[in-house]
């Protein structure tokens, strides 16, 4: 008798638990409201197979997932559902079990509404860092424009620019400028072209010949305009030859083959490689060396700097490429921006050192806060 009561008790509790699986629908935070996360826990629930389905207003159901006792998502599991959901609309979901004959019994139903958020809170550290940088750069640009004098340290290789131009003029040989092989949408190309403007100005003054082979059409037209403007500024618009800037091909090595040909045939006295470079860096620099040119290179591509360092006379390393045009032009907006970047660097260094000290003491909050996904 005692036994029967106990067994009955067990059965009822099992049934009670069996009838209450856990089923939740939640919005995914920090998204555009196109997804919901569905989680379930069917521990102790009876049934051969389980279905999660979406139910519309006419009670039609659409199965989203099915699992059984062999599935990895049994008894607990979750999935992100994102098939053309509309933000703000309410959706009904049903968790059902099925017996061996696949007759379904709805266990529980829930509703969920995907919502779009106006701010992605995961990215707050990114926003803070972006603001610090943007504000310091803009602040120093305006203070430089307002007449504040900003110091900039010497950058090796830039003094030699004037000398190279002079040497080319004396020897009666041209000057080669290669703006890299990336398009205008790479900031390095733009930095290279800004320097080209200042170089072309000096060349126009000295009346030497400039050669600019390019591998992108947008770079072609921009380089042409920049060189033209430099000749105009130098008061030598008549000496400007639009064909000194010319297109070879978009192809990396096709372009290199072409530039190599120019180097060995025209024998430029000075070569400038300023922009974004890949594997071609060394082919250009070595061919240029064998033709006896003074070579100045600059790129922010970490993988190519070593080859320029090894094969060229002067190399602008990484950020120096961006600093170079500020150094040469002394234009307030460029100097100001450089100063702003330096402030950013100082802030980041302090944050880094604080972070390392915190890590040493086992506090991981700063690191976790800054980690952006």
């Amino acid at each position: 008798m005692k036994h029967t009561v106990f067994i009955l008790f067990l059965l009822t509790t099992a049934l009670l638990f069996a009838q209450s699986p856990i089923f939740t629908i939640a919005d995914i935070p920090n998204d555009d409201g196109s997804a919901l996360v569905i989680t379930w826990d069917c521990t102790g629930v009876q049934g051969e197979q389980f279905f999660v389905s979406l139910q519309d207003a006419e009670n039609h159901t659409l199965d989203i997932t099915a699992f059984n006792r062999e599935s990895s998502s049994f008894p607990r599991g979750s999935l992100i559902y994102r098939d053309s959901l509309t933000a703000g609309k309410q959706y009904h979901f049903v968790l059902a079990s099925a017996d061996s004959a696949l007759v379904r019994t709805p266990l529980i139903s829930k509703t969920g509404t995907p919502r779009a958020q106006w701010f992605n809170t995961d990215k707050i550290s990114l926003l803070i860092m972006a603001l610090i940088l943007a504000i310091s750069i803009v602040y120093f640009i305006y203070s430089a424009k307002g007449g504040k004098n900003l110091y900039i340290r010497r950058i090796n290789g830039l003094e030699a620019m004037e000398e190279s131009v002079g040497r080319a003029t004396e020897m009666g040989r041209p000057i080669l400028f290669v703006p890299g092989i990336n398009d205008l949408d790479d900031m390095q190309t733009i930095a290279g072209l800004t320097i080209l403007g200042q170089l072309a100005f000096k060349i126009a003054e000295h009346d030497s010949k400039l050669l600019v082979p390019v591998s992108r059409s947008m770079v072609l037209s921009t380089a042409r305009e920049i060189v033209k403007e430099a000749y105009l500024k130098a008061g030598r618009p008549d000496a400007y030859d639009p064909d000194c800037v010319f297109y070879l091909t978009d192809d990396q090595f096709g372009y290199v083959a072409g530039v190599d040909g120019i180097i060995v045939r025209e024998k430029p006295a000075a070569n400038f490689y300023l922009g974004a470079f890949y594997a071609e860096s060394l082919i250009l620099a070595e061919t240029g060396f064998s033709s006896g040119a003074i070579q100045t290179a600059g790129t922010a591509m970490p993988s190519q700097i070593p080859f320029f360092v090894a094969a060229c006379d002067y190399t602008l390393i990484g950020e120096e490429l961006f600093a170079a045009s500020a150094y040469l032009s002394k234009e307030p907006h460029q100097l100001g921006s450089l100063k702003g970047q330096d402030v950013g660097k100082a802030v980041f260094l302090i944050v880094l050192i604080v972070g390392i000290i915190l890590e040493i003491f086992g506090v991981h909050d700063l690191k976790n806060f800054l980690t952006v996904h």
């Binding site: 972006a130 900039i152 192809d251 090595f253 950020e319 700063l366």
Partner: protein, 213 residues
């Protein structure tokens, strides 16, 4: 027939391989011909590639199959045509609109992408406790990593004279840069020699059949 063209293709490849290698001795007509063929073929390749892989699937197909849903793609198409205005002497300025759009998009992307991956993530990756490690080699390495990163960044400081303690840090920074350049150079030697190995495997294997590829 197919066999003939197979063999012919390999001979063509070998001939052009030698034409380019001849440049190592000195510039010569064989290299010049190979160079011009290379420039011409590659420009042609990118022309066909652009049409088949960029313009047809992204522009012409969407417009021709479902115009109502994709009419907005007429705007980039129009901007693309403005781009070609570069070729017309007095209408060159029109290409500034598409260029502005391209530059605006990449500037926005670059601003965030570099801040995230090349600045913040590199900083958090350096936030380590250098004194924790399995052995002393790791600890020494981690100290070098932290010191090298900090002094290296100091080297790139432009608005202050490199003198005093600051100058010493910048000097240590440039030492780290030099080690990294040397190591990268040494590593790349391996990559470049691999390319030569690949070429010789073609010449010795596919062409001469001395080694089995």
């Amino acid at each position: 027939m197919t066999h003939f063209f197979n063999v012919f293709g390999i001979w063509l490849g070998a001939a052009f391989t030698f034409a380019i290698f001849s440049f190592l001795y000195k510039d010569n007509p064989f290299y010049k011909v190979a160079e011009q063929i290379f420039v011409g073929l590659s420009a042609g390749y990118w022309f066909i590639y652009t049409i088949f892989n960029i313009l047809i699937p992204n522009l012409f197909l969407p417009l021709s199959t479902d115009f109502a849903a994709n009419w907005i793609k007429l705007i980039p198409a129009f901007l693309g045509v403005l781009m070609l205005m570069r070729l017309v002497p007095n209408a060159e300025w029109m290409s500034r609109y598409p260029i502005a759009l391209l530059i605006g998009t990449t500037s926005g992307l670059a601003f965030l992408r570099y801040l995230k991956s090349d600045v913040i993530n590199q900083i958090t990756a350096t936030m380590i406790n250098p004194f924790v490690g399995n052995n002393w080699v790791t600890v020494v390495g981690q100290i070098l990593l932290v010191v090298g990163t900090i002094t290296g960044v100091i080297y790139f400081y432009f608005s202050k004279k490199h003198e005093g303690a600051f100058g010493v840090s910048a000097k240590i920074g440039i030492y780290f840069l030099m080690v990294s350049f040397g190591a990268a150079f040494g590593y790349t030697a391996m990559a470049r020699v691999s390319l030569l190995i690949g070429r010789l495997q073609f010449l010795l294997g596919d062409w001469l059949g001395i080694i089995s590829p």
